[in-house]
């Protein structure tokens, strides 16, 4: 390492590794991981989110989880929370639907209305 630019490179890479600990988060994905969610495949859904995000090198997206959301008939249920916008809840998610949501909603900023079960808080 010889210059401040070298240092900056290392810093950016390291910050990416530490993004879970706060910082630059544009969209937070909250997967409902209650018993019924897991029974309906919420783990697969979450894994697909993690994989897609890693594949696309999206550094400002955070995947996290929560408990039962009450919408048991629509499990697996996923919330997308964006700063300054109403929360969007997707239901009956599958790994294929996840891929579409990542492309459309997260990358292109267009809600995939077919899968939406609720919006707002």
């Amino acid at each position: 390492m010889k210059t401040l630019a070298d240092l900056k490179k290392i810093r950016e890479k390291a910050q990416e590794e530490m993004k879970l600990r706060g910082g630059n988060v544009r969209i937070k994905i909250v997967v409902g991981m209650g018993t019924s969610g897991i029974a309906m495949g919420a783990r697969e859904v979450m894994k697909t989110f993690l994989e897609e995000i890693a594949n696309r090198n999206l550094t400002d997206v955070l995947v996290t989880q929560t408990g039962e959301k009450g919408l048991s008939s629509m499990e697996p249920v996923v919330d997308l929370i964006e700063e300054g916008k109403p929360k969007v809840t997707y239901g009956n998610m599958t790994p294929d639907k996840v891929k579409k949501v990542v492309v459309e909603h997260i990358v292109n900023g267009r809600t995939v209305s077919d899968y939406v079960v609720a919006t707002g808080n």
Binding site: T3, R11, M18, G67
Partner: protein
């Protein structure tokens, strides 16, 4: 490809390690392997998070959930509930007296009045990862200083920030730097003083363990400013983890080219090494420390010449405390004005304290200068344990003094504390409740200083021993009129005449307790009574016959068989033989045994008779 979705930060400061955090970490590895989750969760060992009383503690990101007093048995539940189902385990969260639960670290009241500068990364990053330090802005200050500033500019920034030595004296850092900078010499040295020895203090240890790269970076900036190319970390051998981590940090920095020749393409070359101290308290004194590094006996020598003129191996040297150095990188990153905006007129920035004693949140805290003692003890510290009343607070360890209830609203800064007989010291804060005997506390610190006096100068070597003898006499019921005055006379003489800071400040605990608790000394001397029942010679045990059920347990447990009686007559303690072990009180099923302040009349009479015979022989 990273599938990580959870950062699990386990506090591995020495406090939590002794409470078992390493076992918990192992257990997490096992359980995560079993459940096939190892690739989704990062397990990170951090330095001290602060609230040692609740250890082992951990924080789970992204939510920032804070768990306290975790045991290896809780690990499986955390993984099943929190990691898999996303339901944080409420029973491991912190609750206050009104049963409010604090979900995240940010909500915990302990952290709310704190401002973390030196401790910013402590408990947040993995201290063994240089990349994580760099992620928080590490080494940017060094790079900027080396590429855009002259040594004089660097000193001017420190001057503007108002940074003062955090080791105790509060000497303005920039003056030390300027003196060494102005001294022309072929070789200069910078020393980081990590010889932390005050009982109950662990600020330097936590910083070295929790964020070693910060100290290394700060040291390099100091070295550049004064024109040094070699540095020494003087750390006591009792801190093996701190030594290991600082050594690792040096290795990593060298490998990355952040140390060594022409750092950041500048002319600056730097190398540092660790020297371990054998644990002598006096080696925290800068001259003693320098001699110890040179391989001589750790004795202070008269100043001047100051280290800035003739230090290590006769070369100009600066000796800065760990915390002082820890502030430096942030001052350059955020600016001197930012730093100087915190604190009071004369004391800028923040101060790290190790809170211990009879308070709820013992641990490591960093607060802005000028905070009141009340805020420090009751808001950050959470108040007293067990519903007891606050009695006194000892600031600055064996060199500091005791303050009382009337000083609770005093602002914590160098001058204010000094005026009131205490001192900032290195940051040890021992809070005491009304069960503490102040004479006994003074004796404890005096005993420590007598042990640690290096013996070079007579005021300290002989004077402190005389003071200790008087205190021992007072606490064993042999105090006489004039003892308090004699203590004051001796204390003032020792302060004035001692060679180094150890002797100059050692009488402080005695002088300040006399100043604020004189009536306790007088009760010990005149009434032969210790109101708090701490001094064993000045209290006695007694059995309440109305309560005693004659079970004989106390008599059977008494090691000197000085309790006799029967079921009908109940039991009695023979005071002359009693050794005050307290067994009888511990075993009594009906709490009939109690501690009574004051020497028992029978003992007093016996002692008087003995004294008469002794006097007779003298005649």
């Amino acid at each position: 490809m990273s599938l990580k979705r959870i950062d699990l930060l386990i506090c591995c400061g020495s406090g939590c390690v002794s409470a078992g955090s390493l076992k918990i970490k192992e257990r997490f590895h096992e359980v995560l392997q079993e459940k096939n989750l190892a690739n989704e969760i990062n397990i990170i060992e951090t330095g001290c998070m602060g609230p040692c009383d609740y250890g082992p503690v951990m924080v789970i990101y992204p939510e920032g959930t804070f768990y306290k007093k975790v045991s290896p048995d809780d690990v499986e539940e955390i993984v099943n509930e929190h990691f898999i189902k996303g339901r944080p385990v409420a029973r491991l969260m912190l609750q206050d007296d009104e049963e409010n639960t604090f979900n995240t670290q940010r909500e915990v009241p302990f952290y709310q009045k704190q401002v973390k500068v030196a401790l910013a990364n402590c408990g947040y990053i993995d201290p063994e990862s240089m990349d994580e330090y760099i992620a928080t802005g590490g080494y940017e200050a060094l790079g900027t200083v080396l590429t855009t500033m002259t040594p004089q500019d660097t000193i001017d920034v420190i001057k503007k920030s108002g940074l003062r030595g955090r080791g105790g004296g509060g000497f303005p850092t920039h003056i030390k730097w300027q003196m060494v900078h102005d001294n022309k010499s072929d070789e200069k040295y910078v020393i980081c003083n990590g010889d932390e020895g005050d009982p109950g203090a662990f600020m330097d240890r936590s910083l070295l363990e929790g964020d070693p790269h910060r100290i290394l970076e700060g040291m390099m900036i100091a070295a550049y400013a004064i024109g040094a190319s070699n540095g020494f970390f003087y750390i006591r051998a009792e801190y093996p983890l701190a030594i290991k981590r600082i050594k690792l940090a040096i290795e990593q920095a060298k490998e990355a080219g952040l140390m060594g020749k022409n750092v950041f393409g500048s002319n600056f070359c730097f190398d540092a090494e660790v020297r371990t101290g054998a644990g002598a308290f006096v080696c925290g004194e800068e001259m003693a420390l320098i001699h110890s590094i040179e391989g001589s006996r750790g004795n202070p020598t008269p100043k001047p010449p100051y280290p800035a003129v003739q230090g290590l191996w006769g070369k100009p040297t600066i000796v800065n405390n760990v915390e002082t150095i820890g502030n430096i990188p942030t001052i350059f990153l955020k600016g001197a004005d930012w730093f100087a905006s915190m604190g009071t007129e004369t004391s800028k920035g923040t101060k790290v304290f190790a809170l211990t004693g009879d308070i709820k949140n013992t641990g490591l805290v960093e607060v802005p200068m000028g905070i009141t003692l009340r805020e420090l003890i009751f808001d950050v510290g959470g108040g007293m344990t067990g519903g007891h009343k606050f009695k006194a607070v000892q600031l600055g360890g064996p060199s500091g003094g005791c303050l009382t209830v009337e000083h609770l609203d005093v602002a914590v800064d160098y001058e204010t504390l000094k005026e009131r007989g205490a001192m900032m010291g290195s940051g040890g804060v021992i809070v005491m409740n009304d069960k503490n005997c102040m004479v006994n506390i003074a004796k404890f610190f005096m005993d420590f200083c007598v042990d640690e006096s290096c013996g070079k100068c007579s005021p300290c070597r002989i004077g402190l021993k005389q003071m200790l003898d008087i205190l021992e006499r007072i606490t064993s019921g042999k105090g006489k009129e004039g003892d308090v005055e004699e203590l004051q006379r001796l204390g003032e003489a020792v302060s004035k005449l001692s060679l180094c800071g150890l002797g100059q400040s050692a009488p402080n605990p005695v002088l300040s307790t006399i100043r604020y608790f004189r009536e306790e000394y007088e009760a010990h001397i005149r009434d032969k009574s210790c109101a708090t029942k701490v001094c064993l010679d000045l209290m006695h045990f007694d059995i309440d016959k109305d309560r005693c059920i004659g079970c004989s347990l106390c008599a059977r447990k008494c090691p000197v068989t000085c309790i006799t009686g029967s079921r009908e007559d109940k039991y009695t303690i023979h005071q002359l033989d009693c050794v005050k072990c307290g067994n009888c009180q511990d075993v009594c099923p009906v709490k009939a045994v109690s501690r009574i302040p004051g020497m028992h009349p029978e003992v007093t009479a016996k002692r008087e008779a003995e004294a008469k015979i002794a006097n007779h022989h003298d005649d």
